[in-house]
């Protein structure tokens, strides 16, 4: 009865390794690198949400910038106006964005594939405008946005950026493990069954509405937590930071990392930040080299032809071939 399950052992090993790598990296990374990795992880958390929603549940969103923005603003507002400790705002940001996603999941129920993409597209395009509205200006700071301080180091001797990096990394690893456990549970199988064949799934007794709205809520919550970390890392939020292109870039990160995977979220977040930086440097070499996001657009299309499951998908398939 008490035989260790090989799957849980794999999970425990990955968890320990990720925590170890995260702490080890902290000793070699400069403050700026730590800040960059923190941003990458913030995007990574949001991408994890996107992967669960799109990759595993088959619901399309090109509007996750809206939830990313909501999480960032909830955090920023609580810090600025209520004087909360930055980390204490995270659960609130998570709860608020979960509710938002859950509620948005209801209209999403009636919208399949393309129409859902369209509705979320509209949400993303409208977000900056909603954040700028005069009536909310007292809370959101209008076009200027809000400024606040980064959280103090969690223990003495650590720089502000390193401390935030460590917290973000640990939270990310915990969320990845949580996502892994969710997707390998009974609920996870239901989530994937809905993606593969909704009609068959409902015949099997799966409550489509409940699962789809909850998945939307979880996904939005992850985007919100990512947004909150993004706000903490930059110690500032403003409406135009969260334009429609953030949603597009999150999607790019998700596809490049591997949309039907959990580790792909980490790869996607790192690609978002570092891929952009290197591509930027590369394009500065010559007038003839296009800017990063042109290259990434081309990359995105090529991936759809040759590697629709992204980097992690390629790794998994390569590994499976080696083992054969």
């Amino acid at each position: 009865m008490n035989r260790p399950n090989p799957i849980t052992r794999k999970l425990a090993v990955s968890f320990a390794m990720l925590v170890f790598v995260g702490i080890a990296l902290m000793f070699v990374a400069s403050e700026y690198t730590a800040y960059q990795v923190t941003t990458a992880l913030a995007y990574g958390i949001a991408i994890l949400g996107l992967n669960i929603l799109t990759g595993y549940n088959g619901q399309f969103s090109i509007g996750h910038s809206a939830f990313f923005a909501a999480g960032a603003y909830v955090s920023a507002i609580l810090i600025t106006f209520a004087g909360w400790h930055p980390y204490a705002t995270l659960p609130i940001a998570a709860a608020v964005t979960f509710s938002m996603g859950f509620l948005f999941g209801f209209p999403a129920l009636r919208l399949e594939g393309l129409y859902l993409a369209l509705a979320t597209f509209a949400l993303a395009v409208a977000t900056p405008q909603i954040l700028k509205v005069d009536a909310l200006e007292h809370w959101t700071g209008g076009v200027q946005g809000l400024f606040f301080d980064k959280p103090d180091p969690i223990f003495a001797g650590l720089s502000v950026d390193h401390s935030l990096y460590l917290v973000t990394w640990l939270v990310f690893v915990v969320l990845m493990v949580g996502a892994w456990m969710l997707l390998h549970s009974r609920s996870g199988r239901a989530i994937m069954a809905i993606r593969d064949n909704p009609i068959a799934a409902s015949t099997m007794g799966i409550n489509l509405a409940l699962y789809k709205t909850t998945t939307f809520g979880i996904s939005a919550m992850l985007a919100g937590v990512g947004g909150a970390f993004f706000a903490l890392a930059n110690s500032f939020v403003s409406p135009d930071t969260f334009n429609f292109f953030i949603a597009v870039y999150l999607l790019v990160g998700s596809v490049v990392g591997g949309i039907v995977s959990i580790p792909g979220a980490l790869l996607g977040g790192l690609f978002y930040v570092f891929g952009q930086e290197y591509a930027e440097e590369f394009s500065n070499l010559s007038e003839m080299i296009p800017p990063p996001w042109v290259t990434f657009g081309v990359l995105l299309i090529l991936m759809m032809y040759f590697a629709p499951f992204g980097i992690w998908g390629a790794i998994e398939r390569g590994w499976a071939r080696l083992k054969r």
Binding site: F60, L118, A126, Q129, L251, V252, P291, W293, L300, P308
Partner: protein, 290 residues
């Protein structure tokens, strides 16, 4: 009353532009069952091409015509080279390809022409009519759009190619059996949509200023128009586009806080239509057999 009329007429003018975009969206939707999310950026790019040509030729009409022709050819090439390989791929892959196109065009425009706003002169004379109700540009936009729509309608109704295109969209297999080259009809559809988008872009540029992000809002209103009219009805898309333009202008004036929430209005409209009347006002209800 004057204000109301002014608002309505200005709404019809901007609505004409939305109608162009909506029509382009519906054309591709009918042929392929997909919304082209890159439609707005393609139209923006065409408009920049028109602007660049205008700098060289000095004639706005000449630049306009060349830009529309180039857009038509570019649309065909894009369908043949980029979209065709994912023709039968899952919807996810196709949307990602559209997003890729969107990124490429948006950033290429920023790279070629920089992110500063440019002014593109109106196609229509400055002092044509003497009226306080409507500007010459807006009147020109409305009439010109009606002309374009009339031509498109006649093309689909009375020409052989138009009939073949409708056949290819309605029933690809049967169309293939009677000798219609379905693949080329799709490409032609992309070409036409891209050309119509270019017309919309050049018409709207004097109103919203030319810059790489000018079309994202317009595309959203175009989508809203297409949905409101019915995604499988070109005539409905045009009516929907005009309605969205007018409604938006009224909302800006008469709804408190409406002036800053135009896009939110489009969002509510899109979600509302999708929830309560997914076929739109003039569309057919599609019944799917499972």
């Amino acid at each position: 009353m004057d204000l109301f009329l002014q608002l309505t007429l200005a709404g019809l003018a901007i609505g004409s532009v939305y109608a162009c975009v909506a029509l382009a969206v519906v054309m591709i939707y009918q042929a392929t069952d997909h919304f082209n999310f890159a439609q707005g950026e393609m139209a923006m790019f065409s408009t920049f091409v028109a602007w660049a040509l205008y700098q060289v030729t000095g004639s706005i009409w000449l630049s306009f015509l060349i830009a529309v022709a180039l857009s038509f050819i570019a649309g065909i090439i894009i369908e043949r080279v980029i979209v065709k390989p994912v023709e039968n791929a899952p919807i996810f892959n196709q949307i990602i390809v559209f997003i890729g196109l969107l990124m490429i065009f948006n950033n290429l425009a920023g790279w070629f022409w920089e992110h500063t706003t440019k002014t593109l002169p109106s196609l229509f004379p400055k002092h044509g009519i003497d009226s306080t109700l409507i500007s010459t540009h807006n009147l020109g936009v409305i009439l010109f759009t009606l002309l374009i729509l009339g031509v498109t309608f006649c093309f689909f109704k009375f020409t052989k190619v138009g009939l073949a295109m409708r056949a290819a969209a309605a029933n690809p297999d049967s169309a293939r059996l009677v000798g219609v080259s379905v693949g080329w009809m799709l490409a032609l559809g992309w070409g036409l949509a891209s050309a119509i988008g270019a017309v919309g872009g050049v018409l709207v540029a004097p109103i919203v200023f030319l810059e790489p992000n000018m079309m994202s809002g317009v595309l959203l209103y175009g989508f809203a128009g297409a949905l409101l009219g019915g995604v499988n009805s070109p005539g409905g898309a045009v009516a929907g586009g005009l309605m969205v333009g007018v409604l938006e202008n009224w909302a800006r004036q008469y709804v408190p806080g409406g002036s800053e929430l135009g896009l939110t209005f489009a969002l509510i409209l899109i979600v509302g239509v999708l929830m309560f009347k997914p076929a739109g006002l003039f569309g057919r209800v599609i019944i799917k057999r499972v």
